[in-house]
Point group: C2
Chain length 219, copies 2
């Protein structure tokens, strides 16, 4: 059995793994778990004993396939519950993270299966993140970062790569919601900031920091 806490560590190590090829550092984990490096070291040894991570002192950590399977189950639950909260209970997509953070640890295979079915087997959560199926397989999708789109290319916004409340609220204020049409007008060479047209309406100026975190589909 994996505890609530162990699941959180695995989830976070998984998240960090998707952002880098190399080993995950103790400090990186400590930052995301909101704990101290010393606590992380202890937990890594424990997870290593349970064969959920491979870990060598001072050399960082990686998920084993077993550990990844656990992480993906937690992520699956998190994202399915987010769909439920938004689609069925009418929450906004920037309100659901903390609640899903709790619900993701509810332990019942049967529940997850039925919830998935009840929601119509969604492929993506309200933030556009892919939902692994019950075998841990992510749906295929060819989304790009808005920052990689060429000028005069028209795209549809399909997701975000960052989930902080402040970022999501910023998007809402500007009118950048899932599904909107975006057309890149101009890219500034020196800082990669861009001017975009949203839904054929007005021109907006957005920084590269923002553009990097917006996922779009070319059509």
């Amino acid at each position: 059995m994996t505890s609530f806490t162990e699941e959180n560590y695995l989830k976070i190590i998984y998240k960090l793994s998707t952002e880098t090829e190399s080993e995950i550092s103790t400090n990186a984990v400590a930052e995301l778990t909101q704990t101290k490096a010393a606590s992380v070291t202890d937990m890594l040894r424990k997870l290593s004993d349970k064969q959920l991570v491979s870990y060598q002192k001072y050399q960082g950590v990686r998920l084993t396939s077993q550990g990844q399977a656990v992480a993906l189950k937690v992520i699956r639950k998190h994202r399915l519950w987010e769909v439920f909260l938004v689609e069925k209970l009418g929450f906004n997509w920037d309100e659901v993270h903390d609640i899903a953070e709790q619900l993701e640890h509810i332990d019942s295979e049967e529940l997850v299966q039925r919830l998935d079915e009840f929601l119509g087997f969604p492929q993506f959560d309200p933030h556009g993140d892919p939902i692994p199926d019950r075998h841990g397989k992510m749906p295929e999708f060819g989304y790009k970062n808005l920052s990689d789109i060429d000028p005069n290319q028209a795209v549809i916004m399909m997701g975000v790569a960052q989930h902080s409340v402040s970022f999501l609220q910023h998007l809402a204020k500007v009118g950048l919601n899932l599904g909107v049409d975006i057309c890149v007008k101009e890219i500034n060479d020196f800082d990669k900031s861009m001017t975009i047209k949203i839904g054929g309406e007005i021109d907006y100026f957005i920084s590269n920091d923002v553009a990097k975190n917006i996922l779009v589909k070319v059509y």
Copy 2:
């Protein structure tokens, strides 16, 4: 803040309080929490410090109004989630207890409110137990135990007073489901066992132990 564990103790003390007027004993709590008496003593002191129970050494325990409020919130969540699992996800009523036992500790007032609304503000859970409203008030209902019904009286089954899987499965086997018509044919004087007709069909013999745990409405 009340922890997962504290909430379980409060819920159990509440349950015991509804079954007796007097103080609740340490042993009674230990049995239901699946812990030892020594552990209960520790927890009672802790809950007492937090003003959630009134407790005097060796004299048993009672909920304070604060403690009762917490217990009722947990029970409200438990029963709402049970409705969700049965009505929306299609679980049987004898499968939902363990899952609801986990879901009842999810912490979000907003979530409970929206769930309640999504379910159409149900007054009773799938076992016929009343669901407290957001202020902790139980819906009024005048159900009686089947064991208190006179011969030749026709009633409708509205709930059960016991939730063990074996009991619920026994009921299912006999055909005693929520909503069925029951008519008491005969009561045996010496052991209070009774013969009943279910849905106008066949005569069944049931013990007083079973009859005591079936809630019915006279019409």
